[in-house]
Subunit: 392 residues, 2 copies
Amino acid sequence: MRCAVSEVYIAAVGQIPVSKGGDTLGRRLGAAAIEAALAEAGGVVPTALYVGNMMSGILSDQQQLGALVADAAGLRGIEAMTAEAACASGAAALRLGVMAVKSGLHRAVLVCGLERMTHAPRARTTAALATASDWVHEGGHGESFISLNARLMRTYMDAYGARPEDFAPFSLVAHDNACGNPNALFHKVVTLETYLGSRELVAPVRLYDASPVCDGSAAVLLVDEELARAAARDGKPLVRVAASAAATDSLALSDRASLLRLDAVIASTGAAYAQAGIGPDDVDLYEVHDAYTIITVLSLEGAGFAAPGEGTRLGVEGAIRPGGKVPIATRGGLKGRGHPVGATGVYQAVEAYEQLTGRAGANQLPLATVAMIQNVGGTGATVITHVLVREG
Amino acid sequence: MRCAVSEVYIAAVGQIPVSKGGDTLGRRLGAAAIEAALAEAGGVVPTALYVGNMMSGILSDQQQLGALVADAAGLRGIEAMTAEAACASGAAALRLGVMAVKSGLHRAVLVCGLERMTHAPRARTTAALATASDWVHEGGHGESFISLNARLMRTYMDAYGARPEDFAPFSLVAHDNACGNPNALFHKVVTLETYLGSRELVAPVRLYDASPVCDGSAAVLLVDEELARAAARDGKPLVRVAASAAATDSLALSDRASLLRLDAVIASTGAAYAQAGIGPDDVDLYEVHDAYTIITVLSLEGAGFAAPGEGTRLGVEGAIRPGGKVPIATRGGLKGRGHPVGATGVYQAVEAYEQLTGRAGANQLPLATVAMIQNVGGTGATVITHVLVREG
């Protein structure tokens, strides 16, 4: 009755440069990324589109992006819907796409991550981002994502004696890596002095601990094994989605078992390792959700790369750099490439695919075979992890 | 390489009465419907939750309902995300649940439709609903869903010479049926005189052509074939999701090929018929998306129950009544039960399941074996169709 379903592969990717202050409509941003993916699709025709987006309804008065973006991209008529899981919306759409192919209901589907955040007044965007928190207990009382992450960071510093300079490497490495990525928002080297000298948004979170508000869109085409192998005969690389796993936690920090542990990171990473048949040592790159440096540290610990309280050492010791034990943010991450929230999870997939197929340009890692990408909604309330593996 | 995947069954359902003006938090509405479904789940433990919702971000400053509602329902930790396709968000979540089980990634998943609309000022809710239209071309220019449906209705009346009284039966039958449904918002018989005497919201749409603003939540538990058959041995009815199909169209009416034809209804119904191996004559009840009487008429035509221009005859001739050829809105539909938008698609599934399993109380149809449910986003931009079949 139950049997093995199709494996899922990435057949093509597309992205647009992350930007600030443009006036292009969201549908056009999405369509541009989709058109880029379709341009390298080799004639494969998708029959569904899943859009990851968080704030279009609030900031642009526009819902139903699935049908809207499908139409804008010349795909009117196909199945479409929007997936939302706050800042993990992109990965939610990616997971939806994986299910659609594995279910046998589709053989080729598009996943598009899309967010437009810079056209609204900054205060409105900040409030919209706080709708990912528990509004009754947090956002509605004036908490923002900066203040919530500040609470996590302060708790961590108090518990483990971590100093500000221990967090700096996560920001510096991301900015270094972004310099080699033409689609990144920032192309500037950040030094320890700059990091330490940057203003505190909400102590102890400094400007360079936080990812920027920006606009962007990315897309991937997922196909079943038969289509992927046919494309491979024509010379296309084979990149398999070896794991897809999601887990949740309370939105409100006050309801958590511990502020020093992201349970949903632990659960979704554990499930992803089990699905892919790997462990942390097998991961060649980890596109971590570095929205805030404290989230990076807690994610590295939750994913098994460091013991609790020792995540910052990975930064200090250089393990997170391109040649290190666990390279992160290899194309700039959320901090350097930018964090257009609903698009981020799909940018991560695009960038990991590029690393695995030798398309990462100035940022190319040697011998990357296994990439783990992780997208976090809220301060750890929804965590979605995918493992991509290059075959052959 | 490709093989038959698991069939998907409904194992349990839950709902709360549709209401107006309550002050219960959305998460609690969702949790109540889920708890009702779990109470009859016979110990089956779901491993994921998919929430259908359209406007929580706009009207309640709360996104990430997947994780939030999971937590409120005592399911903290499980996979969760939100599906959005405007007024078809409930069916989008249902389709996501179907994919999750068919993909083999889950054996039992919860689907919850949820919307809270009456706590905001009426003008704000009306504007929020218009975010399902093309905001750049319609909503942003002052169009509402009433005015857009008025354009469809006027065009239909002009083309086919339909009169106001031709639309009345769709409203009257829905209200008649709602009288027997304890979970319906309205329990009052509406007469032709009341219908014709009701005020025009935007001519020719009268008050009784439109579904009400309200709050509600419904839930279904989907399981794979093995779990369903095990439950059947304990006496549970077997209701299979025999088809699940989605299609889209332009959001803007001005971009449509024809205002008299809902192409996405035609496409998704056609695909659903093909999947289930049935045609219109095999459908025992059609839970149609009767948000506006004109949508009902165009849907009946698009789904093949009447030729173009002849949909209103099904009302006049009584075919849509419980004993008729194609009973619709059997528990009151969107008009009588109410239309809490993101919840509606799941209410439809709950009600169809009740009909197929002899639980429809005063509204029970005799010998109902095949139910078609259809949920429409916008004025036909996203249309998602499911066919439920009682086995044995």
